[in-house]
């Protein structure tokens, strides 16, 4: 479930307000949006992909809201990790984060061969 808007990273662009499929955020003029309907969050992580300053943190528990601080997220190395691993924005073209989704069929075939 969406846990944090990290205020000192947020540029107030309101992109997350636009893209969240379940309309979790409310816009705030000139500032960080607020998480207005946390229980509506579908834990899809897509707001993180669209937040270029990496100011959002979605906890993977979709049933219970997590109490997590910006410092903990920072220490865990997870802030912005999903966007980076996906090779979005400034990470595009970086071979470390190349899109290898097409290998799925090979991977399924390896699993079949192993079983």
């Amino acid at each position: 479930m969406i846990s944090l808007v990290i205020a000192d990273r947020c540029t107030g662009c309101q992109v997350c307000v636009r893209v969240c499929p379940t309309n979790v955020f409310d816009a705030v003029r000139g500032g960080p949006p607020v998480i207005a309907r946390q229980q509506d969050c579908q834990t899809c992580f897509l707001c993180e992909l669209y937040c270029q300053p990496d100011a959002l943190y979605v906890d993977p528990d979709c049933e219970t809201p997590a109490a997590v601080s910006a410092e903990e997220v920072e220490r865990s190395g997870q802030r912005g990790r999903y966007r980076r691993d996906s090779g979005w924005d400034e990470w595009a073209g970086d071979p470390r984060y190349a899109n290898e989704h097409w290998r799925m069929d090979q991977i399924f075939a390896r699993a079949r061969a192993l079983s």
Partner: protein
């Protein structure tokens, strides 16, 4: 700017009607393909999504692999033969051939917006795309072609003229507290399947709204009993990405390994989960695959990386997320080869439609569903554009809103809590012992409870009178969830046999006479009928003992 915190909620303002040739309701995989095809055919297209076109829908969070077979007649015939062999006798090879062809020729046409990968041999890989990038690309593509996109704009109801022809729809811009109306020469429903808010990844906006709107236009459904697909995920997570689980080893609460017969994972795990916790380990995944997992599926590891177990060395609890009709195959019945429905002017695509012609009684997940979403979008988009060109836009004629349950109470408005409605529906549609292992008497009890929920909300739930746009949408969603639950349960009850994913523990055999499609319909009074030739008499269907499941 929408929804400024602290400002008072203004009353819902009606926006002036927007004129379009084609209105697409739903901006997921099938809706964007439909919008693209209609716009390429020259139509003026409006697309409305409940959330954000590009991030909404179940494809945007996954990685759709398409049914991808080269145009070699033998290869195509063999692919179709293999699917027909498991389709339970209700699929249609001609439809299969058609979607193979459309997918093959159409998918590469988005290479200007989607960066297709190339393998080591330099071959471009078209079959599988990453969801977030795919939908972002589709948005770019339709935007460039001039499609007008209404985000955060759930459709609430269809509009019909005096002959019942569908001439548009009405909905809300939920962040602005405004009501939109689009008048169109044709309307395409692309609202996806319905997973009853099970927390299946990306499925929260797919509440069956299109199904309910279609029923209000007099349209019926086919294959709603094929609505029992489930996907394994780490407990407490939405992460229904199945690839890594191909390497899974499962254990019961005592630590004993669970033997999983090939092809029977879901039922085996569900049976074990009904008895107690089930744990999983991915230690069998080879090291090179672990190393590249995040480049293949960047979201798969999030539940583990963010405070979870190390899935390769530790056992972690898992569950099954119900998918309802999403990777089932039931949906709105098709009336013709253009993806038209029984309502004049109304088309249906993707998971909102029945997928029986292309998948039969089993799931088309992994290949067929994405190919169907694309192809049905192309077919309906073109047909809707052609219809609008023939008929012209008719914005001036009178149009009647068709929305009933959840919007306008049949009797007097009274307090009905949409959250309680949703919870009551989930109590019948999510437990494994009610959906994976179906039994006649339990289905009858479920149906009777759902009838009670429906009657109450139909009579009293006043979505139109709600204080905020969000509450109106929630009320309507709860009505749609209830309606879809009733059609699924009715269909499961009246198919007294097992076929494909539909398992009746009290009738585990398949009866040859029932290798036919089952239509269900009705809002206040449900009805059902088997299609096709009259059945042979039901002489002694083999009924092994309960528990054989």
């Amino acid at each position: 700017m929408p929804n400024i915190q602290g400002s008072t909620t203004p009353p819902i303002a009606e926006l002036p009607p927007i004129a379009a040739d084609v209105l697409v309701i739903g901006g997921g995989l099938s809706g964007t393909w439909a919008a693209l095809a209609a716009a390429q055919a020259g139509a003026r297209v409006v697309l409305a999504d409940k959330g954000y076109c590009g991030a909404s829908g179940v494809a945007a969070t996954s990685g759709p692999g398409h049914w991808w077979v080269p145009p070699d007649p033998d290869a195509r015939a063999e692919a179709i033969r293999q699917r027909m062999a498991i389709a339970g006798g209700i699929a249609d090879p001609a439809w299969m051939e058609r979607i193979l062809d459309i997918t093959w020729t159409t998918l590469p046409t988005i290479a200007d917006v989607y960066d297709f990968s190339t393998d080591e041999a330099g071959t471009v890989q078209y079959r599988g795309l990453r969801g977030p990038e795919y939908l972002r690309a589709m948005r770019r593509k339709i935007h460039r072609l001039g499609v007008r996109i209404l985000d955060q704009s759930p459709a609430l109801e269809l509009l019909a003229d005096s002959d019942g022809t569908i001439v548009g729809a009405r909905g809300l811009r939920r962040q602005r507290g405004e009501a939109w109306t689009v008048r169109a020469g044709a309307v395409i429903l692309a609202t996806g399947g319905c997973a009853f808010k099970s927390r299946l990844l990306g499925s929260h906006t797919n509440t069956g709204d299109g199904h309910l709107m279609a029923a209000e236009a007099g349209v019926d459904f086919s294959g709603m009993e094929f609505s029992t697909y489930h996907t394994v995920a780490p407990a407490h997570s939405t992460m229904t990405r199945s690839m890594s689980f191909a390497f899974a080893t499962y254990y019961d609460g005592e630590g004993r390994e669970i033997a999983v017969p090939p092809g029977d994972t879901t039922r085996t795990l569900a049976r074990a989960m009904l008895d107690g916790p089930v744990l999983c380990s991915l230690h069998r995944m080879p090291a090179d695959i672990r190393e590249r997992l995040r480049r293949v599926q960047p979201n798969m590891m999030l539940p583990f990386d963010r405070g979870g177990a190390d899935p390769f060395t530790q056992r972690f609890p898992v569950l099954l997320r119900p998918e309802g009709t999403i990777r089932g195959s039931g949906g709105i019945r098709l009336a013709d080869d253009d993806c038209g429905t029984a309502a004049d002017g109304l088309f249906v695509v993707g998971d909102a439609a029945t997928r029986e012609p292309v998948a039969g009684a089993v799931s088309g997940g992994g290949a067929i569903l994405a190919a169907w979403a694309l192809s049905s979008g192309v077919i309906a988009g073109r047909a809707a554009a052609a219809r609008a060109a023939r008929q012209g836009r008719r914005t001036d004629t009178a149009a009647r809103p068709l929305g009933q349950a959840g919007l306008r109470p049949a009797r007097h408005a009274a307090a009905v809590d949409p959250r309680a409605v949703t919870a009551a529906v989930q109590a019948e549609m999510l437990p494994y012992d009610k959906t994976i292992f179906r039994r006649g008497p339990a289905l009858a009890r479920s149906l009777s409870r759902l009838e009670g929920v429906w009657n109450d909300l139909r009579d009293h739930l006043d979505g139109e009178g709600a204080a905020t746009a969000g509450e109106t949408v929630q009320a309507r969603e709860s009505a749609a969830l209830t309606a879809v639950a009733r059609w699924c349960t009715r269909a499961a009850l009246v198919r007294p046999e097992s076929r494909g994913m539909h398992l009746r523990v009290d009738a585990p055999a398949s009866h040859p006479a029932l290798a036919r499609r089952l239509t269900v319909g009705g809002l206040d009074r449900l009805w059902s009928r088997f299609e096709g030739p009259a059945p042979q008499p039901l002489e002694h269907p083999v009924v092994p003992q309960a528990g054989a499941a």
